[in-house]
């Protein structure tokens, strides 16, 4: 299957400094592709090149198999099929309506159609009624959603996003993520998204490329990237439940790691000495009663923090050490959990991932 968007050996230099070095990857139509990496890795530059705002120093970009020529005319024509949401929200000093309508206005759409479509777009990003408000008076989350509405109203084939939820509160984050899922599902929009939120990448993307210092370290399915150890991954990925400790190899061929506070976790690795590991919140099972299961790790603790993220609830549980866990809202209410509730945490040895060992 051929790629809808493809980058071949892209290099970009700014006054002697190499920002992108030999970047190659391809994205299929209808795919959600993540660009992960720390700040300065080159994600923004790469997206700007894909949005035709900049030209690569060498290498080429292909759109549906055709190499892009950077003449003004073809650039402009192609840009109209692509939408982009920038990291720093930029809106025009006018009403929300005018902001969202801009994309259609420059395409010469008629007033009536614009009216309808703007209303639709605002509905999608859950900003109905905001038409008359001045765009510069919105909160960060609202502004970014307007930017999203601006990009989606023109029904682009490809949507590029540069850390779209980087500075948003959880509610806005989830709205944005819902919209992206919807666009990919209903409109089959191809999405390339730069993010440094592993969790988000996992939720949304099918494939991803891990960028570090201008070069691609790994490409492939999200799972593969996250589960294979990599220095680059640790550097940026906001990993949670990261513990350091001393590891001893046990008889069964697993490792027992003393992470402090009298807590020892069993991991399906074989390492000796100082290590750093992490456990993903969604890999931890929460129960009100202790359960007997194949999970090698079980701890008792108390809920110290609750974060309501709509359909999901994140909990901070103090079980000697602090664990971040995640359950569905339904489970949360069914188990009638609350602050200070006693809970039991369980996770398998194989859920413990090695980040670093000496």
């Amino acid at each position: 299957m051929s790629f809808q968007v493809e980058a071949r050996n892209l290099c970009k230099e700014y006054s002697g400094k190499k920002v992108l070095a030999d970047v190659s990857f391809g994205v299929h139509s209808g795919e959600i592709f993540g660009l992960i990496g720390p700040n300065g890795a080159g994600k923004t530059t790469l997206l700007r090149i894909l949005d035709l705002l900049e030209e690569p120093s060498s290498g080429s970009v292909l759109f549906q198999g055709v190499e892009i020529n950077y003449s003004e005319k073809s650039r402009q024509a192609l840009r109209r099929r692509i939408g982009m949401v920038f990291q720093k929200t930029v809106l025009f000093n006018t009403s929300v309506f005018n902001n969202v309508a801009y994309g259609l206005r420059v395409r010469g759409e008629s007033g009536k159609i614009i009216d309808t479509k703007v209303k639709e777009a605002l509905k999608i990003v859950q900003l109905e009624g905001f038409e008359r408000k001045n765009a510069l008076k919105l909160s960060g989350g609202e502004a970014q959603r307007v930017a999203l509405a601006q990009a989606l109203i023109t029904e682009p084939e490809l949507l590029l996003l540069d850390e779209p939820t980087a500075n948003l509160d959880p509610r806005n984050v989830s709205i944005v993520e819902e919209v992206l899922s919807w666009m990919n599902r209903e409109r089959k929009t191809t999405i390339i998204m730069a993010t440094h939120n592993m969790f988000q990448a996992e939720t949304l993307a099918n494939q991803a490329a891990l960028l570090s210092e201008g070069g691609i370290e790994k490409i492939g399915k999200i799972q593969d990237i996250f589960t294979s150890p990599s220095k680059a991954l640790t550097k940026f990925a906001r990993l949670e439940n990261v513990f350091s400790g001393v590891s001893k190899v046990s008889r069964e061929g697993t490792s027992m790691i003393d992470i402090g506070e009298g807590v020892e976790i069993e991991a399906a690795l074989q390492k000796l000495g100082n290590v750093s590991v992490c456990v993903r919140p969604e890999d931890i099972i929460v129960s009100v009663h202790p359960i007997i299961s194949s999970a090698r790790n079980m701890f008792e603790g108390r809920i110290t923090e609750i974060s309501d993220l709509g359909s999901i609830v994140r909990l901070r549980v103090k079980a000697g050490k602090d664990f971040i866990v995640q359950i569905t809202k339904r489970s949360f209410s069914e188990m009638r959990l609350n602050l200070d509730s006693k809970v039991f945490l369980a996770f398998k040895a194989s859920a413990v991932q090695l980040i670093w060992s000496c």
Binding site: T94, N98, Y102, R105
Partner: protein
Amino acid sequence: MKKPSRILIAVIILAVAVVSVLAYEQYQSSQKSVIVLATTTSTYDSGLLDYLMPKFESKYNIEVHIVSVGTGQAIAIAKNGSADIVLVHSKKYELDFVNSTYGIHRVGVMYNDFMIIGPARDPAGINGLANATEAFKKIAEAGDTGNATFVSRADKSGTNTFELGIWSKLGITPSKKTQGWYLEAGAGMGVVLTMTNEKKAYTLTDRATWIAKRSQLTNLLILVRGEKTLLNPYAVILVNPDKWPQRNYKGALTLAKFMISEEGQTLISNFKKEEETLFTPTARNFDKAHSLGFPTQKQEVGWYDAQQP
């Protein structure tokens, strides 16, 4: 964005409207007969022209645009083809203008007079003297002994030139350096009078400004006046149509004829400021005109009378 487009269209319409109104006005004014009269500031500031010209304008349906500048500038404008007629009072500049062939048919119109005013005390003792030059000599002598001060316009105006002319007859070119009693104000007549009043000094002034300000000049009196050398004759000169054919020669001619006509001359003599006549008509008083420096007055007036409209 729709709104900016509307603003842009509105601005363009406004601009087009304004430019077309201006163009129309320009066209309209080019249809009207207009003459540019170049004259001196003191002539204009006396108020005579604002009184006389409207009568001319309504009678002949010609607009008179009066540009009042320094004498030198008035002649320069005319020489450079930006005026149709000049009205000045400086024989040197007038003759220069005629000799250059840019000015033709110089004719005397009227005269006003200068007066020497000074403190009521009159330390130089010039009150009632019949000779202006003699009066100036006495002021200089009194000044040298520290009893008198003289304030001069010192601004190269007609009045100033006239004043310096009198000093030169005594062989003096006064300046603050050599004559401590000589103050160079570098200002207009009104300001000079105020200064003279404050310093209880002497100065040379024209009648019109004196009349306008005399109520404020409580320390000063008229000491010498009416003397022949204090007379200030005015001439009207046409701009040569051969040199500047695109100018309104006909209009200028009409105005000149009007000013030296019986009607014009009567109007001039009727112009009063606070009951006092400022200008004495001389166009048809050939003897007087001769004595004021217009040797060919009779011929010129005859020429003007012979011209059509």
